[in-house]
């Protein structure tokens, strides 16, 4: 490039920069006048959602799993779950066997291995822990997954490139790659329901109230009452993910 060409290009470049600037200012103005995605009568910073799970109440009926699949249009194949139930069986030798009972087409019918010497056995509902320090958000290379102000981790399916890094990073195995869109998907606490003041679908249908949902910013919420009345544990506390799914009567074997 010689000097003449360079100057010619500059003549084009500077007005183009001006146009870009004008467009950007316009976009900024639009954003400022927008009431936001929630509308005017909901302020997300007033809320912080969490779920409590009372392990001793879970009967492993899978109603929550089925309701979740219907509510959130999760693929029906038994490999894709936003929430699922695990059966823990601790044998006489102290070894814990974990299996997902949500993969069975007819839950509750199979009593599991009878010949083993069983010390104790129970069900544990699992779902996305909506961590306050989410590893999945940290590793996303395109910033497609993020935390809302009310504490829910969401995935932008138009940004997600389907690299599955977040699925690997999640210590709770709560994410899956949707086979239809080839993007990562996960539990949203039924975000479209809770904003309207409804309960997540799994909490709505749980027949034994093993799941409690509520707002951590309100001391009167069912969740805060649950946390006052029970000794609370979270899954893998050593990872410092600070989960917002809290378990009561959690066995030490549960991972």
């Amino acid at each position: 490039m010689n000097k003449r060409e360079f100057l010619k290009d500059m003549i084009l470049f500077i007005p183009a920069g001006g146009v870009l600037h004008a467009l950007a200012q316009q976009a900024h103005g639009l954003a400022a006048g927008d009431p936001g995605p929630y509308g005017s009568d909901y302020d997300p910073s007033d809320h912080l959602y969490g779920m409590g799970i009372e392990v001793e109440k879970c009967i492993g009926c899978n109603r929550c799993v089925e309701a979740c699949k219907i509510e959130n249009d999760v693929p029906q194949e038994p490999y894709y779950f936003r929430t699922w139930i695990e059966r823990y069986t601790i044998g006489g030798d102290g070894e814990a066997v974990v299996e997902s009972i949500s993969t069975q087409p007819q839950p509750g019918g199979d009593p599991g291995p009878e010949d083993r010497d069983i010390l104790r056995t129970f069900f544990v509902p699992k779902l996305c822990n909506q961590c306050a320090n989410p590893p999945c958000v940290q590793v996303c290379p395109v910033g497609a997954t993020f935390q809302t102000k009310d504490g829910v981790v969401l995935v932008d399916e138009t940004r997600c490139i389907g690299c599955s890094y977040c699925i690997q990073a999640c210590p709770y195995g709560a994410r899956y790659l949707d086979p239809r869109t080839k993007t990562a998907d996960k539990c949203t606490f039924c975000y479209h329901r809770i904003i309207k003041g409804m309960l997540p679908a799994c909490v709505e249908v749980c027949p034994t109230q093993a799941r409690i949902f509520g707002d951590m910013r309100s001391r009167a919420s069912r969740l805060m009452r649950f946390e006052r009345m029970n000794k609370i544990n979270v899954l893998k506390p050593d990872l410092n993910t600070e989960p917002k799914v809290r378990y009561a009567q959690l066995d030490g074997e549960v991972r």
């Binding site: 920069g17 600037h21 950007a24 200012q25 976009a27 900024h28 954003a31 927008d34 936001g36 995605p37 929630y38 001793e56 109440k57 879970c58 009967i59 492993g60 009926c61 899978n62 109603r63 309701a67 219907i70 509510e71 959130n72 249009d73 059966r87 823990y88 069986t89 007819q106 839950p107 509750g108 019918g109 009593p111 599991g112 069983i118 056995t121 129970f122 069900f123 910033g143 993020f146 809302t148 969401l154 932008d156 399916e157 138009t158 940004r159 949203t188 975000y191 479209h192 329901r193 904003i195 309207k196 409804m198 309960l199 679908a201 709505e204 249908v205 749980c206 027949p207 034994t208 109230q209």
Partner: protein
């Protein structure tokens, strides 16, 4: 030391370029172009547009108040309609043409009530193969008010957690009826007819007062011990170790 002229020149060029870049980045281009706010906001919008499928029990109640009230008085009071009848928002919007499912065969109830060793102790379970084979469950049990044909005799059938705690305590040998009197009605409608509880210090004093005739129970002087507090404000009667 004299700085060579060409170094000063290149220094000026670098400084000008740097200033231009910094001005462009921080003054000309508005922060909204870099912020993640807009794509996050559009994600939230998309998320909020997801159709609701489960109407919630309050919606069901508006039309089906009778069933709701009947259910609320019985053992199934904690179960929402959609746990058995499936997602009902479509039905709620168009009640005439879309009917929710109403499971009537023997397959459905054992989803919760079939025996499974992992289920919590005390949860009512049956062996679906041996329990009145072929007969549909609703022939004997009304799903909205499922009274068991035979009421469990032991309190532990429902109060398993208390029973297990008590079994470890020094009150293990006392039957529940030592302190609680439950009417027959309590077994049919547990919340409607609550069993009674001791009301005063004298009740515990029957065994634990210093002038009691019970020999094995530890004794305290009711007049001097624990001011005017009730016994169970410090001692949990189902696990009465002093604390």
């Amino acid at each position: 030391m004299k700085v060579p002229e060409q170094v000063i020149r290149i220094g000026i060029v670098v400084a000008v370029l740097l200033t231009v870049v910094l001005v462009l980045r921080f003054a000309v281009i508005p922060p909204s172009l870099f912020s993640t706010e807009q794509h996050q906001s559009s994600t939230i919008k998309r998320e909020l547009a997801t159709p609701v499928m489960h109407a919630g029990v309050a919606t069901c109640r508006q039309c089906h108040a009778d069933e709701f009230d009947r259910k609320s008085a019985g053992y199934h009071k904690g179960i929402t309609c959609e746990a058995c009848h499936g997602a009902g928002e479509v039905h709620a919007n168009d009640p005439m043409s879309v009917k929710p499912i109403a499971p009537r065969d023997r397959k459905f109830c054992p989803v919760c009530h079939g025996y499974d060793p992992s289920r919590p102790t005390g949860f009512p379970q049956i062996n679906p193969t041996a329990h009145n084979p072929v007969k549909p469950c609703i022939a004997c049990h009304d799903p909205h008010d499922p009274v068991p044909p035979e009421t469990p005799a032991e309190c532990s059938a429902c109060h398993a957690q208390i029973e297990r705690t008590k079994a470890l305590s020094s009150h293990a040998l006392l039957p529940c009826t030592t302190c609680h009197e439950a009417t027959e009605q309590h077994k049919i409608q547990p919340r409607m007819a609550l069993p009674d509880k001791p009301s005063g210090r004298e009740f515990c004093g029957q065994c634990h007062a210093s002038d009691s005739r019970n020999r094995s129970a530890p004794k305290v002087d009711l007049a001097a011990h624990g001011d005017s507090y009730l016994c169970w404000e410090c001692h949990y009667p189902h696990l009465p170790e002093g604390r």
